[in-house]
């Protein structure tokens, strides 16, 4: 019995150390990010991007948009993408065997005609049936292929893409008009860069007209507001902080840019992958940094892609379960990076962080909450321990969420109204009472599912801007 007592007590201590560690790591990441974002902002203030691109010193981009059953939004999305500011880009829409009228909608709106095609590269993908090109917009290419999933569709797009840089975006994402000008800058400044990610923001509550952002605002639902704060925390200081350590482990699939040669040489996206966006980044680190340690995958805080987040718990739940399984799957595939000094800070800090806090973290936390609760009831831990533990879990969380909103306000100030600012601070406070714990619970369930062999990613529910669009 005494052994059990000490075991439980030790677990409580470990849990406290774990909570302090994760909070402190985030605090340090916040400080690193703050410095980086301010430097980035200062650099960008006096850069006339449009003039820089007049020097004809840019690399052309192929934007690949995998589309599956997007009939409601595809026309607006294409129109919006065609209006992006960039001197030379090709837009490749990959119709991944849609069963609705996605292809017909494109046919009817963009006067596309069949062209002869030759895949530039031979990445594995399901058969391409036809390639079309628009007479009205010659930069628009439509690939019609047999359904094979997102990774497969992207690979097919890469095979057809003509330009040295590849940007992959989701069909229902909204890009800011100058985002390509910004995301390409790192490639122009540093030839060792092979991939760049951009910030994703929550579009719920924004006014969107025909695929274009008209007015930035906050959602009415608190669930979406919590996610807004969560995205700020993840993108503004999570990824920025890891970028300082050259340890970016994930670039969002909703908006990423790659060197085509790098993608080709690693064989493109992995078919059947659950978390294809993380897996490809880890594979890039794995392959390139072993050969060439100066290779860099970076993250830019500014180029903004807006995406709609779930406002229903059921949808959010399945999204988070999918993300967690994807994270575990990707990490598991590249375990050789763990504590591998050949990969620098990525092997020694970034990867271990993800394994400890993202992969097995939910298990530690959920077991921890139960054990702490019963320990407290049965007086295994003292009142002062309980206060300290709850402070690290709740109050430290509030500090970090508030800091992410402050970082946003001191840097990009995307939300114009002072009322929005107060709402964000409110969400930063409230998300620590229930929302974060709920997310951890779902991640816990996903981890258990994954361990017990249930690795499917379930049905993905479609999002769309049409409902919220301003007509």
């Amino acid at each position: 019995m005494i052994y059990l007592y000490y075991l439980i007590l030790s677990y409580n201590y470990l849990l406290l150390i774990y909570s302090i560690s994760i909070g402190t790591i985030y605090l340090l990441l916040n400080i690193l990010s703050f410095k980086r974002i301010i430097q980035y902002k200062r650099k960008m203030v006096y850069v006339d991007l449009k003039k820089i691109f007049k020097f004809q010193n840019f690399k052309s981009i192929s934007i690949i948009v995998p589309a599956y059953n997007e009939e409601n939004t595809i026309v607006d999305s294409i129109m919006s993408l065609l209006q992006l500011e960039y001197p030379d880009f090709q837009l490749v829409i990959v119709n991944d065997g849609s069963t609705d009228n996605t292809l017909e909608k494109i046919f009817n709106n963009f006067s596309i005609r069949q062209v002869s095609f030759t895949p530039f590269y031979k990445l594995q993908s399901k058969q391409i049936k036809t390639v079309y090109m628009s007479h009205e917009y010659p930069s628009l290419v439509v690939v019609d292929k047999i359904n094979g999933g997102k990774a497969d569709a992207i690979n097919a797009g890469i095979n057809i893409a003509k330009n040295p840089l590849i940007t992959v975006i989701d069909a229902d994402s909204i890009l800011e008009r100058d985002c390509l000008l910004k995301i390409v800058r790192p490639f122009m400044e540093n030839e060792n860069i092979i991939a760049v990610g951009g910030t994703i923001r929550v579009a719920n509550g924004c006014k969107i007209n025909h695929g274009n952002m008209v007015k930035i605002g906050l959602a009415n639902s608190w669930l979406a507001r919590f996610q807004t704060v969560e995205y700020l925390r993840a993108f503004l200081f999570g990824r920025n902080g890891f970028d300082v350590l050259n340890s970016v482990m994930i670039i969002s699939g909703a908006f990423s840019c790659f060197s085509r040669d790098a993608l080709i040489s690693i064989g493109g996206y992995r078919e059947g992958s659950i978390g294809e966006d993380m897996e490809i980044i880890l594979r890039m680190h794995n392959i390139f940094r072993k050969e060439k340690p100066e290779t860099k995958i970076t993250f830019i805080p500014d180029p903004v892609c807006w995406t709609e987040v779930p406002e229903k718990l059921k949808v959010l739940r399945s999204q988070r379960i999918r993300w967690q399984k994807g994270t575990i799957d990707s990490l598991r595939l590249h375990m050789k990076l763990l504590f591998n000094p050949n990969y620098g800070a990525l092997g020694m800090i970034g990867f271990p962080y993800y394994v400890l806090f993202e992969m097995i973290g939910p298990l530690i936390e959920i077991f921890g909450y139960f054990i702490f609760f019963f320990s407290f009831i049965f007086n295994v831990v003292s009142m002062s321990f309980a206060v300290a533990f709850l402070s690290t879990v709740i109050l430290y969380g509030i500090v970090l969420s508030i800091l992410s909103v402050i970082l946003e306000e001191l840097s990009f100030k995307k939300y114009p109204g002072i009322k929005d600012l107060f709402i964000l601070f409110g969400a930063a406070l409230l998300e620590n009472f229930g929302y974060r714990q709920l997310i951890t619970w779902w991640r816990f369930k996903a981890t258990i599912d994954y361990i017990s062999g249930n690795r499917g990613w379930g049905k993905m529910e479609k999002k769309g801007f049409s409902i919220h669009s301003e007509e």
Binding site: R42, Y46, V47, F55, S116, K162, N190, I402, L410, F425
Partner: protein
């Protein structure tokens, strides 16, 4: 007891961080309120003075007469208002608006700001003295450019370039090297703020030994101004350089100014070992419209590198007299592999573009 002390310390530390966060909330909210107030003041200024500024543009009112009507404390709003117009207007209107700054009390106001210790004041003032060409600001800008602050350096360098202070070129280059996080594009942005005459200085610099990145930036400046006189210097660099970036930039310059005398030197690069150089050489030589190298470009269709093949096919289609026919013959011939497939693709794309 010892453990309790540690728990208290943890709680106190977190409470301290929490209090700090709330203080920061107060700070950012105050900042937001101040910014909103300034924006409101700017709007009030606009409502009151915009019509007067527009009528100033249309009549012969003396600039000092208009500025005299505006209280000194409103100068910042006036300058903020003028900023966008100064960036977008040209010709007579630009001269008139500039006169509001460089022929009035605003000059002294800006010079005073340039002398201040406040970095944002200096950056603010540098923009206006540069764009309106206030020569008297030169010594102050040359002093400020030596700052270790990136923003002060950049704004001072741009201002010196805008007032065409050619004698500051060495100083700008020397100071630029200090900032290793500033890419070459920033130098390019500064140098292209000079008048075209800077190109002569740059040609002189290209003849001395400089780094690859500096040489590339200089070549880009020459290309930006399409500076024909630099043709022989660039050709010499093309022939003697072994640096990939420099060779590619030389080729781009030759392409931009269509320097036909370089055709032979460019043609030799069609067989360069690096595909990037071969691709650029094809682009350049096809723009020179020199028929004697068409056969050589045609052979590039049968290379092993896909990008080179594609570029060669594009050149044939867009620049050869019988390019379309030549590609058609190839497209439907047998056993031509990639070259036939690329030809078919380009021809079908051309037909779609032409609406056929």
């Amino acid at each position: 007891m010892y453990a309790d002390n540690i728990y208290h310390l943890i709680v106190l530390s977190i409470l301290f961080l929490l209090s700090l966060s709330y203080l920061l909330i107060g700070f950012v909210v105050a900042l937001r309120i101040i910014n909103n107030f300034r924006a409101k003041q700017q709007k009030i200024f606009l409502n009151k003075w915009e019509s007067l500024i527009f009528s100033f543009l249309e009549n012969d009112e003396l600039p000092e007469e208009l500025v005299a009507k505006i209280p000194r404390r409103k100068y910042k709003y006036l300058l903020n208002y003028l900023r966008e117009y100064l960036l977008t207007l040209g010709g007579k209107d630009f001269e008139r608006l500039s006169s509001l700054i460089n022929q009035t009390k605003l000059t002294d106001y800006l010079l005073k700001k340039l002398k201040s210790w406040n970095k944002s004041n200096i950056t603010f003032a540098s923009f206006f003295v540069g764009i309106t060409g206030i020569d008297a600001a030169k010594p102050l800008l040359q002093k400020n450019i030596k700052s270790h602050n990136q923003q002060m350096f950049f704004s001072s360098a741009v201002a010196l370039a805008k007032i065409n202070s050619y004698d500051s070129l060495d100083l700008i280059l020397h100071e630029f090297i200090k900032f290793n996080n500033l890419g070459d594009d920033y130098l390019l942005l500064i140098l292209t703020e000079f008048h075209e005459n800077i190109c002569q200085e740059i040609i002189n610099l290209l003849t001395v030994e400089i780094s690859s990145s500096l040489a590339t930036t200089f070549l880009r400046v020459l290309r930006y101004y399409k500076y024909q006189i630099a043709g022989p210097t660039v050709l010499k660099m093309l022939v003697y350089s072994h640096l990939t970036d420099v060779i590619i930039e030389c080729l781009k310059f030759i392409e931009e100014i269509k320097y036909e005398k370089a055709a032979f030197a460019v043609s030799r690069l069609l067989d360069h070992k690096l595909p990037g150089i071969r691709i650029q050489a094809i682009k350049t030589i096809s723009k020179l419209e020199n028929k004697s190298f068409e056969a050589k470009i045609f052979t590039k269709l049968f290379e092993t590198n896909y990008d080179v093949q594609y570029q060669a096919a594009l050149a044939i289609l867009n620049h050869f007299d019988d390019g379309e026919k030549e590609l058609s013959d190839l497209a439907y011939s047998v056993d031509k592999g990639n070259s036939a497939a690329i030809s078919r693709m380009l021809l079908s794309e051309k037909r779609v573009k032409e609406g056929k």
